[in-house]
């Protein structure tokens, strides 16, 4: 049987965010996934949140290879930040 948007379990937006962030209690995951399977609006919200997260991480890459970071790390190891 396929759930429709109207008979899928009610899920708060906060639960969708928690699902995206891996913060949802394991027992609640099936309900959220049932909602996502049945409700295109919920899937659109989830997809747009995923795009937002990827854009954020793409825009702010970790500056782990740049000289300034390395200089700061060396200074800390010397005890002189």
């Amino acid at each position: 049987m396929t759930l429709t948007a109207t008979d899928a379990p009610f899920i708060k937006d906060a639960d969708l965010h928690a699902y995206l962030d891996g913060e949802l209690a394991p027992a609640a995951v099936p309900s959220v996934e049932a909602r996502l399977s049945a409700d295109m609006e919920a899937r659109i919200l989830m997809k747009s949140l995923e795009i937002q997260r990827e854009a954020l991480q793409s825009k702010y890459p970790l500056p782990d290879k740049c000289p300034k970071t390395k200089a700061m790390m060396d200074a800390v190891l010397r005890g002189q930040p």
């Binding site: 954020l56 702010y60 970071t69 190891l77 930040p81």
Partner: protein, 176 residues
């Protein structure tokens, strides 16, 4: 002592990234990180060995940042960072989305932006974020949802039915 210093040094890339995204300025960000590191080294005893230094260091940085805002009585001006140490990893096709992201981040209230960056950029848990900002987890969740929704409206992501096949959306969950 050396183990502690190495652990602190290992967090510097994340501290610099968060400070840059938070302050919107290379100079302010590096000042903030320098102050954070100086304080951390002066107060090494406050950090319990065995604990991750990340939460402790982000808390120090956050407190310095908030103190600075209060002192200057200003909100930072957010500028594009498509330069310097923070060159985007995928220039080109995503440029429009990143411009919208800049605009959206500028428009967010300070408290929502902090939560959004700690969770969405740094990948910290809700509990870690709550500890760093000294707020309840429920407040983290509500600020995150409000911030993301405002940013979503600003970014105007063109997501349609063709983009949201059931399997692809259920696969986006971050593994805890």
């Amino acid at each position: 002592m050396d183990v502690q210093k190495q652990a602190i040094a290992g967090e510097i890339p994340r501290l610099r990234r968060y400070a840059r995204a938070l302050s919107g300025s290379d100079t302010d960000a590096d000042d903030l990180v320098q102050e954070t590191l100086a304080r951390a080294l002066t107060h090494l005893g406050q950090w319990t060995m065995g604990d991750s230094p990340r939460k402790w260091l982000f808390s120090i940085l956050h407190n310095h940042y908030v103190d600075g805002l209060r002192r200057d009585n200003r909100r930072p001006v957010h500028v594009s960072i498509d330069a310097g140490d923070f060159t985007p990893t995928s220039p080109g096709a995503d440029a429009g989305i990143r411009r919208d992201l800049d605009k959206g981040l500028q428009a967010l209230p300070e408290d929502q932006r902090q939560v959004l960056l700690l969770v969405g950029l740094e990948g910290l848990s809700y509990a870690e974020t709550a500890d760093i900002l000294d707020i309840p987890i429920g407040t983290v969740m509500s600020r995150l949802a409000r911030g993301r929704e405002k940013l979503r409206r600003e970014m105007m992501c063109d997501v349609g039915a063709d983009d949201v096949a059931v399997g692809s959306v259920i696969a986006v969950r971050r593994t805890p």
